[in-house]
Symmetry: C2
């Protein structure tokens, strides 16, 4: 490979030559923020039936070396732990977002690396480094095929997540350049996940597989299995089979200088990201307002907001992508947390009544992600607020303190303060195994 | 589901309502032929380094309940056994072929079903039934997207194999119609595998995953995970994400009446199927011929034959898709078995010398799969034979006796006669577990 031509070759050489501790401090801090957000999200849903079912199905197929399931007493081998923790982290879509690609970067990448590092006693610095490289590879490959890839029906967090998991695991295993390339090529032959299945639990299997199969790719590469150097952009390779010729330069240009992962963002609310401006506007509007006096709520946004959110409401899954529910529950309760989008909130008579007063309308002049909410009250008052950069957007990122606050809510019943302290100091951790003890549950 | 509309719904209802023993006798016999051919193929390469590596990588991730690895002493859980046995069965592309789709139907479907049946003590009749249904679903879905799917870069045996494995496992688990539908939908979110990777071991990972992930899909469906009924043909579903709108009627029309699986064929030679006519012609031509007197060998065929087979030769993988090697080794040795395409044969000086006298030329009038071989000798003799329907083709299928002979060669060192007898009588087998004992190796 003296003259690296293909993307997987260049990525392989980059991963194999990169060393822990050498990345910019701001980037490493973004990695810590992502991991804090990841652990909180997984802890918050650790006992959800979807997660419990995944544990039960995978348990009979777990080897003896067991890794931590976040927030649970059971343990599974690295494949099973990668699978289950990835499902949990992404379950409510309350995780992170790389906005250009709409990839949730951390859920498929962190779990296999944590499991590997836990079982092999690797350091926090090595883990953080491998995680950032994996997430970077994932986002770069996503950029090369966006936006057509998702629009065509590919659930990009799964289809690109497997590359991130493979790259990160290859890095953590200390594979050489050729093996790293093979890991990416083997990942290409495992890339899957469909938008059509997003409203169902089949989505969760896709997420779990991205994590599990990425690890498998790295382990087979370590054992000597090969792949086509052209697996990503070749004529019969990943990108073209899945859609069109990729913008291959996006995968490799400025490697080590420009970082896509630096653009990662975090969600303050467990609702679709386009609804965050609606929620922010409603939080501001309710200052000194008696919700009982509201007669009409008009939510204006672009076509995407209406396409995603102007729909009938049947269950909690719908609530997280409903303009009407987001506006009503936020105005009424002054909060937009996990429980405000659960079944009890959906069927709460007061929320239901206020939801009936919400009307969505198109304002094609509003930019993507923006919303204007206008209230009319019995007293004839009219209040209107327009939000263009909601909390958590790239222009207004969640602060470390806000991420900690989100974590504390998700981690109720766990030792959140100890966990937060240890996570910020991850690079000082000599053995991830001792860290993960904090995240399991000693009793069933 | 009172009015089944989507393909997965119709397939689900079909699978759930079908009962062992009710399929036509000829179809069941074809199932037995496929399984005989499958076991032989897997036995023949059981000690191949690629298989051994797969066992070593998967072993640490195996749960306690262990299933047979064909021809090996180790055992793995059902996921691992499905993965490894699928790789072995397809390793040399010496397995079966559904010609319209170029799917190798048995390799991804039989292994998960055998592992499930072994571990749960299910009967041979149940196994055979589930296998035929699974292979049928696999071929039908393949027909709906062929030929564009493979041409675009999808390794169709992997991408459709996962559906066959899911359908067969769902049948064997006795899932209801809705669960069977979910299994297919979950399989859709796991479908992967690239033509670009075919010359490498990444291909084998794709094969193993088709088997393993199909089983996973059925187990998650059994546990209550759901999928979109429209996962196969929906706007953002499997077929359209992967290429174009499918010919969805091919998936469901005449279910239970017309059987795609009945068109399965078997390979007499471990070489690409388009080379079989070349081999047959050479076998006939060498009657009474001294190969040392041959001065020139001209192989004529259509563009596909030349595209696939007129290429430089570096190793055994190339040899199996080389016009020159197929003609030379067959003429010289009068055989075209596994060892005739291995490294020793590739580097055999006599074969190498004769290979140098082979010339490929286009005859666009010859139909696909046909070849004409013409020999010139020192004495000025000219012999020419044209083969249009090679042994193993749909027009000239391998007989049961020929399949047995192929099996005996593959199963050297095993108790082939006992195995053959038991396989033909599979439907009388009360417990697949007692059958599988015949196929492992008691000692390491």
């Amino acid at each position: 490979m003296s003259d690296p031509a293909f993307a997987a070759e260049q990525l392989g050489a980059f991963i194999a030559s990169s060393r822990p501790g050498t990345l910019p401090a701001a980037l490493r801090h973004e990695g810590l923020r992502s991991l804090l957000n990841f652990f909180g999200g997984a802890l918050g849903v650790a006992q959800d039936p979807t997660v419990t079912t995944a544990v039960q199905v995978m348990a009979p197929f777990s080897g003896p070396q067991r890794a931590t399931l976040i927030g649970r007493a059971e343990r599974l081998d690295a494949m099973g732990a990668a699978f289950v923790n990835a499902i949990a982290a992404n379950l409510l879509d309350f995780d992170d977002t790389h906005l250009e690609t709409v990839i949730h970067p951390t859920a498929p990448v962190a779990p296999p690396l944590l499991a590997l590092a836990e079982l092999r006693g690797l350091s926090g610095a090595a883990l953080l480094h491998a995680f950032i490289l994996g997430a970077e590879v994932e986002c770069r490959i996503g950029c090369a095929v966006s936006p057509g890839h998702y629009a065509r029906g590919w659930h990009i967090t799964s289809t690109c997540g497997v590359f991130g998991a493979a790259a990160g695991a290859a890095c953590l295993l200390g594979l050489n350049a050729e093996q790293c390339m093979a890991a990416l090529g083997i990942a290409a032959s495992q890339s899957a996940g469909l938008v059509e299945n997003l409203p169902t639990a089949a989505k969760n299997v896709g997420m779990g597989n991205a994590a599990r199969n990425g690890l498998l790719a790295a382990l087979f590469a370590e054992a000597g299995y090969t792949a086509a150097p052209s697996a990503l952009e070749g004529r019969l390779g990943w990108a073209r089979a899945m859609g069109d010729a990729p913008e291959a330069a996006r995968i490799t240009e400025g490697l080590g200088e420009h970082w896509e992962f630096a653009h990662n963002t975090y969600k303050p609310y467990p609702a679709g990201i386009v609804f965050h401006a609606v929620i922010d506007a409603c939080l501001d509007l309710r200052d000194g307002l008696d919700p009982a006096t509201v007669t009409e709520i008009v939510v204006a946004g672009d076509q995407l907001l209406l396409d995603r959110g102007d729909r009938p409401l049947r269950n909690a899954r719908d609530a997280r992508v409903s303009i009407h529910h987001a506006a009503a529950v936020t105005l009424l309760r002054g909060s937009a947390g996990v429980e405000d989008f659960e079944a009890a909130a959906v069927h709460d008579p007061a929320v239901t009544a206020l939801r009936g007063k919400v009307r969505a309308e198109l304002d094609a002049l509003l930019p993507r992600g923006a919303a204007r909410v206008t209230l009319l009250t019995q007293g004839g008052e009219r209040r209107s607020i327009e939000v263009r950069d909601p909390r958590g957007s790239a222009a207004r990122p969640m602060t470390d303190a806000e991420l900690e606050a989100k974590y504390r809510i998700n981690a109720e019943g766990h030792d959140a303060e100890a966990q937060i302290t240890r996570l910020w100091a991850l690079e000082a951790e000599a053995d991830i195994g001792t860290l993960m003890v904090l995240f399991g549950r000693p009793d069933a």
